[in-house]
């Protein structure tokens, strides 16, 4: 037996403080709310005490952002702003291992993902938008910043979502108040240190920690010009209601229930990898996860047997072990939700199969799971589970695949697996999803716009399109 000996990445590189304050106006200050604990989801070990920002703290942060906006950042030339962004990007690369280890500890994702996916793409985002800072007049969206951006991000990609929000905002000349998720605040706070290290002018980036109340306080603050949110559709709707009637600009990147469509002429071994990557990458805590597998009936049995064989080789366990493929569920609350929806899947008659794996005794864990015999009417085919649970449906013709794929309130992403190029193009035209991946899945790049249709939100992040959300288009014919 070729057993892999433990290969843990060392924790020694990170220095987790016993408690953290809020990062306002370039300094760490105490919060006025009730502090909360962040835990390592793989062990339930308490990592640190984190301040909660009250309304007063949020107000301070917005004021600091406004001052920095009017006095420094919006007046600075794009080329000068770019220097800061490049510097931040380089520091992220230099401290990449530290960021990756901390991300895995606080979030539960495997180190191979935080090291090879999250952190490199984070740096790439800052590099990419640094390049835009002095070229905004060619963006097509004008070059006038909006002002203060209030940004609320989720726990699944704590640092990456921070980069998606902060890099374009700063490149366009805005200042930000950002709230990381309450279960994963640590890398955002380390990012605050990086802002200090980069000598970013105080107030350009403010990080306030807290839960739903803090988020509400940010998005409803009267001096916030722009709200950017990534998270659940439920909270997204609440935000849309809260800002309705104000002149705040809003972008929302919400949930998904993406169809990953496998045709009978697909490259099957690679399709199986794509299915696995689509739903088990980051424990399935991915808004664009390929959580609905639509497989052509003529190859359904073969795909399922290959998929199960592959799932049995997934290594579930210690997120810091370099050979771990699937890490811990981020929180007890999320684990409960995954368990609940899985139980509903069984009670509605779908057949459940979980990969045989030993789960650690402590921490929050869920074995990679697949449901077969799922119909469109099942809740596990309609609701976002946000965990390592795949629902499998079948189809007979391309039209049926399109109908089923689009028959969801969401529309964030989709995947198409076929050897036929023309079919890829026709499917991409007919699928109502912001991203359609062809013979691949969960590929992210700063140059590519990302965003949803329908209840998956509005606005685009990434690429040139991502600038629109942070610029006031003053050109003739554009709304002022």
């Amino acid at each position: 037996m070729f057993e892999y000996a433990p290969a843990p990445e060392s924790r020694a590189i990170v220095d987790i403080k016993p408690s953290y304050g809020l990062f306002i106006n370039g300094e760490f200050v105490d919060g006025n709310g009730t502090s909360f604990k962040t835990v390592n989801p793989a062990t339930e070990e308490v990592l640190a005490e984190v301040a909660e920002a009250s309304d007063v703290d949020v107000d301070e942060a917005v004021k600091a952002a406004r001052r920095a906006y009017t006095r420094v950042w919006s007046r600075m030339s794009g080329a000068e702003r770019a220097k800061y962004l490049y510097r931040i990007a380089r520091i992220i690369q230099e401290r990449g291992r530290e960021l990756a280890v901390l991300e895995s500890i606080d979030n539960g994702k495997p180190i191979k993902e935080s090291r090879d996916v999250d952190v490199p793409i984070v740096a790439a985002h800052f590099f990419y938008y640094a390049g835009w800072a002095d070229k905004l007049k060619y963006s097509g969206y004008g070059e006038t910043p909006l002002g203060v951006a209030g940004q609320v991000i989720p726990w699944n990609f704590p640092l990456l979502m921070l980069a998606w929000k902060i890099a374009p905002a700063l490149a366009c000349g805005n200042t930000v108040v950002l709230k990381p998720a309450e279960t994963t605040p640590l890398t955002a706070l380390l990012f605050a240190e990086i802002c200090q290290q980069a000598d970013l002018p105080p107030g350009v980036v403010n990080i306030v920690t807290g839960a739903g109340d803090t988020g509400r306080s940010i998005v409803s603050h009267p001096d916030v010009d722009k709200v950017a949110f990534t998270g659940s559709t439920e909270v997204g709707k609440a935000i849309a209601r809260a800002v309705a009637g104000s002149d705040k600009k809003v972008t929302l990147e919400l949930g998904g229930k993406a169809a990953n469509i496998v045709f009978d002429d697909a490259p099957l071994d690679q399709a199986v990898e794509g299915i696995v990557n689509g739903i088990f990458f980051n424990q399935g805590h991915v808004c664009c996860a390929g959580s609905r597998l639509l497989v052509q009936e003529s190859v359904a049995d073969e795909v399922m047997s290959r998929l199960k064989r592959r799932m049995a080789t997934l290594r579930v366990g210690d997120p810091l072990d370099k050979n771990t493929d699937v890490g811990a569920i981020n929180s007890a609350e999320q684990l409960a939700k995954i368990r609940e929806l899985s139980a509903i899947g069984e009670s509605e008659g779908a057949e459940r199969w979980s990969a045989p794996c030993d789960l650690p005794a402590n921490g929050y864990w869920f074995a990679p799971t697949v449901f077969t015999g799922v119909s469109q009417a099942h809740r596990i085919a309609r609701e976002e589970i946000f965990g390592p649970v795949l629902s499998v449906l079948t189809f007979r013709t391309p039209s049926e695949a399109v109908e089923k794929a689009n028959n969801t309130p969401f529309g964030l992403s989709a995947g198409v697996w076929t050897d036929k190029g023309s079919r890829i193009l026709s499917m991409a035209n007919r699928l109502r999803a912001g991203v359609v991946w062809a013979n691949t899945f969960n590929k992210f790049d700063p140059t590519s716009p990302f965003g949803g249709y329908k209840e998956s939100g509005y606005g685009r992040e990434g690429g040139r399109h991502g600038l629109e959300a942070y610029l006031r288009n003053t050109e003739k014919g554009a709304d002022a």
């Binding site: 070729f2 892999y4 000996a5 290969a7 990898e273 080789t313 370099k322 050979n323 013979n439």
Partner: protein
């Protein structure tokens, strides 16, 4: 299992389930082109992903010893002499003279005219003699010459024959010719095991590698092998991945196991371990055995020995502490 008549072996496969497949050129083509395609980007990404596995301490020690046992220690040069082959054979039996716990390699691999010398030195040590035959490395010779080349090596005592396929025939779509060639060589091998070399660097596409794999397995090859070592690129991780998937799927369908041998370009312990990880995760335990997986290599062995010494003593020693051959 083995076809009986040598020259008419073509019309039947070594597995009855494929008799219809190999009935004609067109049925064989339909079958091979009907195999699921390979997405190049996805295949390379999967191989690169497996290559990031971190193999340390006890698992590294296990992998090094296993890799040594899987080496086909090779010399295939125009300048080969009996002296050189004897030296190589001695090294294969006792790779590390300073450490009796070091296992022997699986085989030595030589040209047919060196088989007798190798056999004489190896005796009943358990180390096999493999001979490249069939007008290695180009395979450009008449069929009867290829068969004579094979019989000559077998008669001289070769335990294993490494044949090359006719890449020209394969690339021009004459699959049945390739099939017949393999079947006939297999016949000529008698009790010797047959490894079928594709020269994947000349087949170029992963789809071709998958088709060649099935062709060779249906024709009765015991092993499928990437390269001669004379053409670049030789063995690569993604090519070996495709071949491992093929033997895995072949067993699923026929119940029969076929071995895999990447050859050429595998020089370091780190490389070898990447291959073993791939064997482990694609095919599983059953293939982690010299009977089912080999490395065709010459320089690899000394790097394995150096790493092995490092594992046991905690110290690196220089190349001068290991024999050249």
């Amino acid at each position: 299992m083995t076809p009986t008549a040598s020259s008419t072996a073509s019309s039947t496969s070594s597995h009855a389930v494929f008799d219809d497949v190999v009935r004609s050129d067109s049925s064989l083509r339909r079958f091979l082109h009907g195999l699921p395609g390979v997405d190049q980007v996805g295949c390379e990404a999967r191989a690169a992903g497996l290559a990031t596995r971190s193999i340390k301490t006890t698992s590294k020690a296990y992998a090094i010893d296993l890799a040594i046992r899987m080496v086909d220690l090779t010399t295939l040069e125009g300048q080969d002499t009996h002296g050189k082959v004897r030296a190589l054979a001695s090294k294969a039996m006792r790779p590390d003279p300073a450490d009796p716990t070091c296992p022997a390699t699986a085989a030595v691999c030589v040209y047919p005219d060196m088989v007798a010398t190798a056999k004489q030195t190896l005796g009943d040590s358990g180390v096999n003699v493999a001979a490249v035959a069939t007008a290695f490395p180009s395979g450009r010779a008449a069929m009867d010459i290829k068969l004579a080349d094979t019989r000559d090596a077998v008669e001289a005592g070769a335990d294993e024959i490494d044949m090359v396929i006719d890449r020209g025939a394969f690339l021009s779509g004459r699959y049945l010719d390739v099939f017949e060639e393999i079947a006939q060589v297999r016949e000529a091998c008698g009790d010797a095991h047959l490894k079928v070399i594709f020269e994947t660097g000349e087949l170029q596409t992963y789809d071709n590698v998958r088709r060649a794999s099935w062709l060779a397995m249906m024709a009765g090859g015991h092993f499928i092998k990437t390269s001669t070592g004379k053409v670049q690129p030789a063995a690569t991780l993604p090519v070996t991945l495709i071949m491992l998937e093929a033997v895995r799927d072949f067993r699923e369908q026929t119940g029969q196991m076929v071995g895999v041998k990447p050859a050429g370009g595998i020089k370091t312990t780190k490389d070898a371990i990447k291959y073993l990880v791939m064997v482990n995760e694609i095919c599983g335990d059953d293939w982690l055995d010299p009977d089912w997986f080999r490395f065709g290599a010459s320089t690899l062995l000394n790097d394995l020995l150096m790493q092995r010494t490092k594992m046991t003593t905690g110290r690196y020693s220089g190349p001068d502490y290991f024999t050249l051959d």
